[in-house]
C-alpha cells in the first residue's frame, strides 16, 4: 500500500509538471492577449517533431534550443499575419481561428512525418535510472523534466512580476493606447508574447516527445486536458496553472491506482441492482473513470468557483 502511494505521488507530480510546462505557455498568452489558444497543443506537437528532426541532425541538446525558437517564430508569424487580422472580429473569431489552425497543423505534421509514431529517443546522457524506489526505476530523464518545469515556472514568474518587460507587457494588456503613447510598439509586444507562449509549448514538446510518444495525434490527446488545467487554475493565473497541473496529475494518477467500485463497497447490500442497466454504474471501477476525472473537476469548478482556484477575474 505504502509502495503504491509513494509511487503514485511521484508519478502524479511528474505528469502534473509536464502538464504545467504546456499550460504555462497557454496561460501567458491568455493573460496577455485574452486569447484562448486552441492550437496551443499543436505547437507542443510541432515542438516535439521539430525536436525529433533536429536531434537527428545535430543531437538532442541543440534541438532543445532550436526547436522552441522555430516553433516560437511560427507562433509569432501566426499572431502577426493571422490573429491580428482576426482580432477586430472579436474573441469568438480568434478562438475559431486557432481551432482551424489546430486542424491544419495536425494535417501538415501528418503529411511531413506520417501518421505512425517517430523514433524519438531520450538522449544517452540522461538514459539511466536516477534512483530505484520499491524496486521501481525512476529514469533520470523524468527528473530532468521535473527540473525544467520548475525552472520555467520560476523564470516566468520573475519575468512577469519583477522585471520591466513584464511590467510593459501587463500594461499593454489593460491600457494598450497608453503604452503605445509611451512609445512602445504594442503590436510587437503581443507578437512576442504569442511567440514566447508557443515556444514554451514547444519546449514541453521537445521534452515530452522522447518520454511519451511523438505522433501526429499527440496534440489531440493533451489539448482538452490543457484547457481543464488553465480553467481550473484560473484563467490567466500562472500560480493557479501550477497548482491545477499538480492537482490534475495527482488526481488522475491516484484514481488509476484505486480498484474500488460501488459494487465492491456496497455489493452485499443490494445485489438486485447488479442485474439491471444500473449494473454499469454499479460495476465501474474508479480506475476506469480516472481519465474523465479532470472534466468532472472542470465542470464543478466552473459551477462553484468560475474564476478558478487562484484566478482573480471571472471567466
Amino acid at each position: 500500500m505504502l509502495e503504491l502511494i509513494v509511487i503514485s505521488t511521484l508519478n502524479g507530480v511528474l505528469f502534473g509538471m509536464l502538464l504545467f510546462l504546456m499550460a504555462s505557455g497557454l496561460t501567458v498568452i491568455f493573460s496577455m492577449l485574452g486569447v484562448l489558444n486552441f492550437a496551443h497543443a499543436s505547437f507542443y506537437m510541432l515542438g516535439a517533431f521539430f525536436g525529433f528532426q533536429i536531434s537527428r541532425w545535430f543531437g538532442f541538446w541543440p534541438a532543445l534550443l532550436i526547436a522552441p525558437l522555430l516553433a516560437g517564430a511560427i507562433g509569432a508569424g501566426v499572431e502577426r499575419y493571422g490573429l491580428r487580422r482576426v482580432h477586430k472580429n472579436g474573441h469568438v473569431a480568434e478562438l475559431l481561428f486557432t481551432f482551424g489552425l489546430a486542424f491544419a497543423i495536425e494535417e501538415i505534421v501528418q503529411i511531413i512525418w506520417g501518421k505512425s509514431p517517430v523514433d524519438f529517443r531520450v538522449p544517452p546522457l540522461l538514459d539511466f535510472p536516477a534512483f530505484t524506489i520499491f524496486s521501481t526505476n525512476y529514469p533520470a530523464y523524468k527528473i530532468f523534466m521535473l527540473l525544467v518545469s520548475v525552472a520555467i515556472f520560476a523564470a516566468l514568474l520573475i519575468t512577469l512580476k519583477k522585471t520591466r518587460i513584464g511590467l510593459i507587457v501587463q500594461a499593454a494588456l489593460t491600457h494598450p493606447h497608453m503604452v503605445g503613447h509611451l512609445g512602445h510598439n504594442v503590436g510587437r509586444i503581443f507578437m512576442l508574447v504569442f511567440g514566447v507562449g508557443t515556444a514554451l509549448a514547444a519546449v514541453a514538446g521537445v521534452i515530452a516527445g522522447p518520454a511519451l510518444v511523438t505522433q501526429s495525434n499527440m496534440a489531440g490527446l493533451l489539448g482538452p486536458i490543457l484547457f481543464v488545467v488553465v480553467v481550473v487554475g484560473g484563467l490567466g493565473s500562472l500560480p493557479g496553472a501550477f497548482v491545477a497541473s499538480l492537482l490534475i496529475g495527482l488526481v488522475q494518477t491516484f484514481a488509476v491506482s484505486i480498484n474500488g467500485s460501488l459494487s465492491e463497497a456496497f455489493g452485499p447490500l443490494s445485489p438486485a441492482y447488479a442485474t439491471t442497466w444500473l449494473a454499469d454504474i454499479w460495476n465501474v471501477t474508479v480506475a476506469q473513470i480516472a481519465p474523465i476525472m479532470p472534466y468532472v473537476l472542470l465542470v464543478l469548478i466552473l459551477i462553484f468557483r468560475p474564476m478558478g482556484l487562484l484566478g482573480t477575474r471571472d471567466t
Binding site: 487580422r85 475559431l96 482551424g100 494535417e107 482538452p224 484547457f227 474523465i292 471567466t315
Partner: protein, 433 residues
C-alpha cells in the same frame, strides 16, 4: 405612451411582401419534392438526407452561436442523446407492437434533447463567453466518455442498432427504401426550419439577440440574461435532438461517434462557414460542408488539410461566412452599382484562382513525396492526373503560387477601391449605411 409603441412597431407587411414570403416556403417544399426525381441513385438520396439532418442541426446550433452569442463545443451531446433514445424507442416500439408510426418518432429524439438541455442547461448557461465554451467542452467530454463506460445503454463503442421497418405502418410505407427516408427527413427539415424561423420572430428570439449584444442592458429592462440563455439553450437542444433522431433513423444505428468532439466540431464548422449573421447562413453552411465532407475525401487524401485551410480562410477573410459575403452586395444591388464591382472581381478572380491551383499542386506533390515516396509519381488529385516527379510541375506550382499571390494582392486592392466607390454611391442613394 400608446402611440410610442405603435409607431415603434414595424409596419404591417404589404400583401406583396407576404406573398413573396410564403411563396419562398412553398417553393422550398416543391423543390424538396422534385429533387429525388432529378437525382435518384441511392447515394444521392443518402446525401440529401444527410444534408437535411445537417441543416436542422446547424440551425439549432445557430440558435446558440448566432442568435444568443453562445459558443458551444459540445452541441453533439443533445444530437447524440436524441439519436440513442430514438434507437431504443424504435426497438421498444417494434418489440411491443405499439401503434406508433416512424414519422412521429423523431419527436422522441427532440424531447430527449430538450430534457437533457433542461437538465444540463441551467448550470451551463450561468455565464456566457469563454466560461460557457469551456463548460460545454467539459460536459461533452464527460458524456462522450460515459457513453463508453455505460455499456448497457449506449452499447459500448459498437453502439446499438434497430430496424426501422418493423414499426407500425401508415399508408403502407415500410421506410425501408432510402427514398421514403428522404421524404421523412425532408418533411421534418421543412417543419423544423419553419419552426426555428418562427422562433427568431418571437419576443424570445429578439431577447436572445439582445442578450448576445448587450446583456447588461437586458438586465436593465427587467430580464434575466441567464433565463434567456437557458431558454435558447433548451430550444436548441430540442432541435438538435430531432436532427440526431433523424440521423439515427437514417443509419439505423447509434454509437458514441454521435456524441463526440468530431460531431460537435463539424456543426461549428458548418454554421460558421455558412454565416452566423443570417438565418439562411447555417443552411448554406450545412449543404456546403456536407457535400465537402462527402466529396472531398474522394478527391484527395489530405481533405482535412483543405478543410482546415478553408475554415481559416473564412474566419480571416469572410467573418460573416458565405452568406455574409453575399449579403454585403445587397445594398449595391439595390443601388444598381453591382456592375461597377463585378469587373474588378473578375480581374481578381484569375490570379486568386492561379494561386489556389498553385497551392493545391504544391500540397499534392509534397504529399506524394512524403506519404507515398516509392510509388508511381503519376498521381490524381481533384480528378486531374499529373506527374508529381516532373520538375515542370514543380515550377508551375511555384510560379502559380507566388506569382498568383503577388498579382492577387494587387488586384484585391483594386477590388477594395471599386468596392469603396460603389458603396459610397450606394450610401448617397440612401440604401447602405
Amino acid at each position: 405612451m400608446s402611440d410610442l409603441t405603435s409607431s415603434a412597431a414595424p409596419p404591417y407587411p404589404a400583401t406583396a411582401e407576404k406573398f413573396k414570403f410564403y411563396g419562398l416556403w412553398v417553393a422550398a417544399a416543391i423543390a424538396l419534392l422534385v429533387l429525388p426525381k432529378l437525382f435518384s441513385s441511392g447515394g444521392s438520396l443518402t446525401t440529401f438526407s444527410l444534408i437535411g439532418i445537417s441543416i436542422i442541426f446547424s440551425l439549432s446550433y445557430n440558435i446558440l452561436l448566432g442568435q444568443t452569442g453562445l459558443l458551444s463545443f459540445g452541441h453533439a451531446v443533445y444530437y447524440g442523446l436524441g439519436g440513442f433514445l430514438v434507437i431504443h424507442a424504435i426497438n421498444i416500439i417494434g418489440m411491443n407492437k405499439l401503434p406508433i408510426p416512424l414519422p412521429v418518432v423523431p419527436l422522441i429524439g427532440g424531447l430527449t434533447g430538450l430534457l437533457f438541455a433542461v437538465l444540463l442547461g441551467w448550470v451551463s448557461t450561468q455565464r456566457s463567453g469563454t466560461a460557457f465554451a469551456m463548460i460545454s467542452l467539459g460536459v461533452a467530454e464527460l458524456v462522450a466518455s460515459s457513453a463508453l463506460i455505460l455499456r448497457t445503454f449506449f452499447g459500448g463503442e459498437a453502439g446499438i442498432s434497430a430496424n426501422r421497418t418493423k414499426l407500425f405502418r401508415v399508408f403502407d410505407w415500410s421506410f425501408g427504401p432510402q427514398i421514403q427516408i428522404y421524404y421523412l427527413v425532408a418533411a421534418w427539415t421543412l417543419l423544423a426550419v419553419i419552426a426555428m424561423y418562427a422562433l427568431t420572430r418571437t419576443p424570445l428570439g429578439r431577447m436572445c439577440n439582445a442578450v448576445r449584444d448587450n446583456p447588461e442592458r437586458v438586465q436593465f429592462v427587467g430580464y434575466d440574461p441567464h433565463v434567456v440563455r437557458y431558454l435558447a439553450f433548451c430550444f436548441s437542444g430540442f432541435f438538435a435532438g430531432i436532427a440526431g433522431a433523424l440521423a439515427a433513423i437514417n443509419f439505423e444505428i447509434a454509437n458514441s461517434a454521435y456524441l463526440g468532439a468530431v460531431q460537435s466540431g463539424t456543426v461549428l464548422f458548418a454554421t460558421y462557414i455558412g454565416g452566423v449573421g443570417f438565418f439562411i447562413g447555417p443552411i448554406i453552411g450545412a449543404i456546403f460542408v456536407t457535400l465537402l465532407s462527402l466529396g472531398l475525401s474522394d478527391l484527395t487524401p489530405v481533405w482535412q488539410l483543405y478543410f482546415g485551410l478553408i475554415f481559416i480562410a473564412v474566419v480571416m477573410f469572410a467573418p460573416g461566412g458565405i452568406t455574409g459575403l453575399l449579403m454585403m452586395h445587397r445594398p449595391l444591388l439595390k443601388a444598381g452599382r453591382l456592375s461597377k464591382v463585378l469587373p474588378s472581381y473578375l480581374i481578381a478572380f484569375v490570379p486568386t484562382l492561379a494561386m489556389i491551383v498553385g497551392l493545391i499542386l504544391a500540397i499534392e506533390t509534397t504529399v506524394h513525396f512524403t506519404v507515398n515516396p516509392g510509388e508511381d509519381s503519376h498521381i490524381k488529385a481533384f480528378g486531374v492526373r499529373f506527374d508529381a516527379a516532373n520538375p515542370y510541375i514543380w515550377a508551375m506550382a511555384a510560379i502559380l503560387l507566388i506569382g498568383g499571390f503577388l498579382v492577387a494582392r494587387k488586384t484585391w486592392t483594386w477590388v477594395g477601391h471599386a468596392w469603396d466607390d460603389a458603396t459610397s454611391v450606394a450610401r448617397e442613394k440612401g440604401v447602405a449605411s
